[in-house]
């Protein structure tokens, strides 16, 4: 490859590298968001269980 060809290729590769770097950074962000969603989902599930057990405790009173 001549020097000119090397530099031209380098220019195009720089663009590619930056775009790929963006993708990498973004995939980390998506992973973090996924984790947060899972945490929130657990919290919500925990919140739903408590009202259920409270309703179960109240049930025997009504029966008797």
């Amino acid at each position: 490859m001549t020097t000119a060809e090397k530099y031209v290729t380098a220019a195009f590769l720089v663009v590619l590298a930056v775009v790929l770097l963006y993708v990498v950074i973004y995939s980390f962000k998506i992973a973090r968001l996924q984790r947060e969603v899972e945490e929130l989902a657990d919290q919500v599930a925990g919140g739903l269980e408590r009202p259920e057990t409270e309703a179960a405790d109240r049930e025997p009173e009504r029966v008797s």
Binding site: T2, A4, Y7, V8, A11, V14, Y26, L33, L40, Q43
Partner: protein, 228 residues
């Protein structure tokens, strides 16, 4: 605007197709430039990237204007995302321009190349935009100040360009510039292809990044309402 929808692969696929074709054509099909030879082919990536960067800043400023007009917070993230991508494309403009300068004139930087100097000024300006956002607490105040600054930025583009032209009157005049080719049919076609591909890339990245930012904000709001 259709860009408000959930991100779909259509724009990304278009970007991929257009850019791959453009790069292939730029390397194998287009004739060599009479004056500069092979090195002039950087033009096919440098100038479209620069034009896309301007488009990003203008889009961001448009969203900023809508925010100030309609007082709708949704425009803040859109403006921010556009300017963020504009800055990334701006960095690419500086990088590709620098490589072109090196191969053309042997220097990594040319003060006589107006487009490059303009991008340097814009780069400084929009970095300050991010500093502004980071140093103000989230809220309508930050949104409005960012919007105002984004509008100043887009007005600065032509004013700075004029300033740079005037400055060349008293700063050591040199003949080092990065010239594009004579726009014959083939060259114009590949140039347009490349630019279209980059605009699609911007649109695809914009949708993705915007979706991510909106998701982030929704999650934070959800957390806050659950803590109550």
């Amino acid at each position: 605007m259709s860009l408000r929808n959930r991100p779909g692969p259509a724009l990304a696929v278009s970007a991929l197709a257009l850019l791959m074709t453009a790069v292939a054509l730029a390397f194998y099909w287009v004739p060599n430039d009479a004056n500069q030879g092979f090195s002039q082919r950087i033009f096919y990536i440098h100038v479209p990237v620069a034009l896309t960067s301007y488009a990003c800043f203008i889009w961001g400023a448009w969203k900023a204007l809508r925010l100030l007009w309609r007082h709708d917070s949704a425009y803040d993230l859109e403006s921010y995302t556009a300017i963020h991508l504009g800055t990334i494309f701006g960095i690419l403009t500086l990088a590709t321009g620098s490589i072109w300068a090196k191969i053309s004139w042997g220097h990594w930087w040319l003060w006589s190349e107006r487009q490059l100097v303009l991008f340097l000024i814009l780069f400084l300006f929009y970095c300050a935009y991010f500093m502004l956002r980071y140093s103000v607490d989230e809220g309508p105040r930050r949104e409005r100040m960012s919007a105002v600054y984004a509008l100043f930025g887009v007005v600065l583009i032509p004013v700075s360009f004029l300033a740079i032209r005037l400055a060349q009157g008293f700063i050591h005049p040199t003949v080092f510039t990065l010239d594009g080719p004579q726009m014959t049919g083939q060259i114009f076609f590949v140039f347009c292809l490349s630019w279209a591909g980059l605009l699609c890339l911007f649109a695809a990245l914009y949708q993705t990044e915007l979706a991510g930012k909106r998701l982030d904000r929704s999650l934070r709001e959800l957390r806050r309402s659950m803590a109550v």
